[in-house]
């Protein structure tokens, strides 16, 4: 897909999530099942809900029936560790009432407009500032769930960095047959300029966003890695501030992991990777400028980090060193946190037509005079062709099983994967690895016999180019909607900062599809977001009352 940010107008969900989306949508009319999950009896629930009612029943009072169907509900499906929090939350929502909720939600959205917390959607001639719709019913993660997510994210980033160091170095992973050479070296995002150029602490992916979903059984799955310039972290923090301002009564007394530390951590990581041993290296954030749809986030991060927000024209390379133009002349720059794609960074090396970049930047970098984060060439690691191999890559470098699995992916270049795919075409989502933007995807259960036959022939003609995945139903969360409070699908994007070590911002961005039955969580497609609460500690885990 073109660019990994998801605040751009052009972007539709990439193939992986699209497949998941369409897959889950397909079954929504079907089964009529409610809770085919093992129902975990929980004492808090039975006590609070005399007569055996569940949280779903309380939500019914908000209008229409709240029915998550067979999807995992992030609030009402009972889980260990959450203790009384879901119950409290639902009761507090009930206390506020639907009308007041709507009024406050709308006031909160006005607040976002006044504050300019917006992303820009470009059409042919106009640019419209839109807010990311905000849903006031938070998504809760227990401390135990967060432990798993945090460790899995750190594990994955570790593997991504080792992989990148390897493929831009000796290439053991290819020589040992873990991943086919053409997927790596033939990848359009592989940057030969990066070969034999070690980076400080072996960190290529300084900021990573990993898209995670939860399936019907309640298990987390990694949908996608975003190792280039992932967006969205500003909304995590702004959403929390908005909740604190607008819904303090929902949060009262509930201990949550804070989200305020992101800017400081990012700045520290940027300082750690700076060349030389400056006591106080000059960090800048390089943005494409005010016309970029994620500009608000660039501003937000520059402010949180306390560093200048620069555009290409502010920087100049002289004698292989990078400087910024200030009122008193040129001032040295040591680390550039760039929110600009590889292609645009340096017209001397990449796109010669780039007006956004800095001529000579790569030269200065290769001389070791400046650090660039994320490193150039990380796009090969978050490519969907490579994604399929991530479980093996983790095993190869770390000798560990992935703590959170990929969505099951069958690789057709391998005999077993091909056989399984061909035998189950009518149940699977098939997709070409080389294409972007959702081209060439076939949703098995929705395809006609003829279409499946065509797919079979296409795959057989060039199996290397194909993968297949099952359809997964994303979990849902209760969301303020036209009909009252209804289930809406959501995902999670935690953010991982890596300098010397990795640190994960507690929670992450919960993106929610605001339309009923929709699984498109993208902002440009009407998706919104929720505050993500990570409980500071769990209940009922053997601690004193």
């Amino acid at each position: 897909m073109g660019g990994k940010t998801w605040f751009t107008n052009a972007e539709v969900l990439d193939e992986t999530s699209l497949a998941v989306a369409l897959g889950a949508g397909a079954k929504s009319g079907g089964t009529g099942l409610r809770f085919d999950l093992p129902w975990v009896p929980y004492s808090h629930f039975s006590r609070a809900c005399a007569g055996g009612c569940g949280l779903n029943e309380i939500f019914r009072q908000f209008g229409s029936e709240y029915d998550p169907g067979r999807f995992f509900c992030e609030l009402t499906t009972p889980r260990h560790g959450a203790g009384p929090v879901p119950q409290q939350l639902v009761e507090r929502l009930q206390g506020i009432g639907l009308e007041a909720l709507r009024a406050r939600a709308s006031a909160a959205e006005n607040d976002l407009i006044d504050l300019g917390v917006t992303f820009t959607v470009y059409s042919d001639a106009t640019a419209i500032d839109r807010i990311l719709p905000f849903d006031c019913i938070p998504r809760i993660l227990t401390a135990r769930e967060w432990d798993l997510l945090e460790n899995a994210c750190i594990q994955r980033v570790k593997a991504l960095n080792l992989f990148l160091g390897d493929i831009y170095g000796k290439g053991h992973v290819v020589k040992d047959g873990v991943i086919p050479a053409d997927l790596v070296y033939g990848n359009t995002n592989y940057r030969p300029e990066m070969r034999d150029f070690p980076v400080p602490h072996g960190t290529y992916v300084h900021v990573c966003g990993i898209d995670i979903i939860r399936d019907e059984k309640g298990d987390f799955r990694v949908l996608e890695d975003n190792a280039r310039t992932p967006s969205g972290v500003s909304y995590v923090i702004e959403n929390r501030h908005l909740m604190l301002r607008t819904f303090p009564d929902l949060m009262a007394g509930i201990k949550l992991r804070p989200v305020d530390d992101y800017g400081r951590r990012l700045r520290a990581a940027m300082a750690e990777v700076a060349p030389g041993d400056h006591a106080d290296p000059q960090v800048v954030l390089l943005s494409p400028g005010i016309y970029n749809s994620a500009y608000f986030e660039h501003v937000f991060l520059a402010r949180e980090m306390g560093v200048p927000l620069v555009v290409g024209a502010d920087l100049v390379v002289e004698a292989d060193r990078v400087f910024m133009r200030t009122t008193s002349g040129l001032k040295p720059v040591h680390t550039i946190y760039r929110r600009l794609n590889d292609d645009f960074l340096d017209p001397e090396v990449f796109r010669p037509d780039s007006m956004l970049g800095v001529p000579g930047l790569i030269r200065a970098w290769k001389k070791g005079n400046v650090a660039i984060a994320n490193a150039v060439g990380t796009g090969v690691a978050d490519d969907k062709a490579v994604y399929a191999y991530m479980p093996r890559i983790i095993k190869y470098y770390l000798d560990e099983e992935p703590l959170i699995q990929n969505v099951d992916t069958h690789i057709c270049r391998e005999a077993e994967g091909l056989k399984y795919t061909l035998e189950n075409l009518d149940k699977l989502v098939t997709k070409p690895v080389g294409e972007s933007g959702g081209y060439g995807i076939t949703i098995g259960p929705r395809a006609s016999k003829e279409e499946l036959e065509t797919v079979r022939e296409t795959i057989l003609a060039n199996p290397d180019n194909w993968i297949s995945q099952p359809m997964i139903g994303l979990s849902v969360g209760p969301t303020l909607a036209e009909e009252g409070i209804g289930p809406r699908h959501l995902d999670l994007r935690p953010f991982i900062i890596t300098g010397k070590e990795s640190w994960v911002l507690p929670g992450g961005l919960s993106r929610v599809a605001m339309k009923r039955g929709s699984l498109i969580v993208n902002s440009s497609q009407g998706g919104g977001s929720k505050d993500t609460w990570v409980l500071a500690r769990d209940f009922g885990e053997g601690e004193p009352a």
């Binding site: 004698a319 133009r325 200030t326 002349g329």
Partner: protein, 337 residues
């Protein structure tokens, strides 16, 4: 532990221009308000044409497809987003600069500017009719004044604040000269000047537009002359909108930038500011009135433009270090490494 964060040349320029655009918005509202009070039965169009003339907007006005009547001039300045010199156009300029400056601005400043921008973008043709117009002008003035107040109370006073102030002062000095000029272009454009200045009600209106009415009354004798009014509006050392006060403050800010922030490149600008100060003081007002106030104001405006240009050359876009060669900057880098 504390560090000098410096200031990007582009941000200095952005602050300078954001302040200019906002000052322009306030003064446009003042000019429109005073123009309305100049309307006399049967000559409404003439009064409004004067506004076009003092802003040198004849060409744009025609190109935008307007005709010279009161309604069209009001729409040109209050509704036409495509006109860069209109209230919505200038505010758009201010907000675009503010977007680039957002990392340096307080959240309060940004929020108010956003809301003000939204208010202005919703002005309707009905708001320009009859007594509604004066109320609208008041609201626009108050929008900028709220901005100025929030800025005063929240913008960090490092060098960025000085560039913001300088931009505002240059624009204000320029606008006050235009306010004076409108007296001449709006009424009796072909008559003798002494005759024109006799119309005291109009001078009162201009004094009100320049927020100087009461101060002037306190200072002047019972029988005041046009010279007194022009003297007050141009040269009073304590009148916040007088070009003389503006230029003196610019000089002081340039001096502070040099002494406190080591910005030594502003010599040319300092010299130009001094020349301008002398221009504002050197001749008796009676002499200026006799030889033509309009031409004199033109010269003042040109000097202000040159001053702005010199500041731009010194600190903004095209500046390259002349006193500190790059080789030395490198040495500094290695030393600190």
């Amino acid at each position: 532990m504390m560090r000098d964060p410096g200031l990007l040349a582009r941000d200095a320029e952005g602050l300078f221009w954001m302040a200019r655009y906002l000052e322009r918005v306030e003064n446009l509202a003042r000019l429109i308000d005073v123009t309305q009070s100049f309307e006399s039965p049967g000559f409404e169009a003439e009064a409004w044409q004067g506004l076009i003339r003092i802003n040198a907007d004849e060409k744009t006005f025609r190109e935008r497809g307007f005709s010279f009547d009161a309604t069209h001039v009001k729409r040109f300045y209050l509704l036409d987003k495509g006109n860069a010199t209109s209230v919505p156009g200038s505010l758009e300029g201010a907000r675009t600069n503010a977007r680039t400056l957002r990392p340096l601005m307080s959240t309060e400043m940004w929020r108010q500017l956003n809301m003000f921008h939204r208010f202005v973008s919703r002005i309707t043709p009905e708001d320009l009719e009859g007594d509604a117009l004066s109320r609208l002008c008041t609201k626009i003035k108050e929008g900028v004044q709220a901005h100025t107040g929030i800025t005063e109370g929240t913008l960090y006073r490092d060098q960025g604040w000085y560039f913001y102030e300088i931009g505002r002062l240059i624009e204000r000095a320029d606008q006050t000269t235009r306010m004076l000029d409108i007296k001449y272009t709006a009424i009796l454009p072909h008559g003798r000047e002494e005759k024109r200045v006799a119309e005291l009600t109009q001078w009162n209106a201009i004094l009100r537009a320049a927020a100087g009415y009461h101060a002037f009354k306190r200072l002047s004798r019972a029988q005041f002359s046009p010279e007194d009014v022009v003297q007050f509006l141009l040269r009073d050392p304590a009148s916040p909108r007088a070009p003389l006060l503006c230029v003196r403050r610019i000089e002081s800010h340039l001096d502070d930038l040099r002494r406190h922030f080591g910005l030594v490149a502003g010599e040319e600008a300092m010299e130009l500011a001094e020349v301008l100060r002398e221009l504002l003081l050197e001749k008796p007002i009676s002499h200026i009135l006799a030889t033509g106030l309009h031409d004199y104001l033109d010269v003042v405006q040109i000097h202000l433009q040159e001053l702005a240009g010199a500041i731009g050359r010194a600190f903004f876009r095209d500046w390259r270090p002349e006193t500190v060669p790059v080789s030395q900057l490198q040495i500094q880098t290695q030393v600190s490494a």
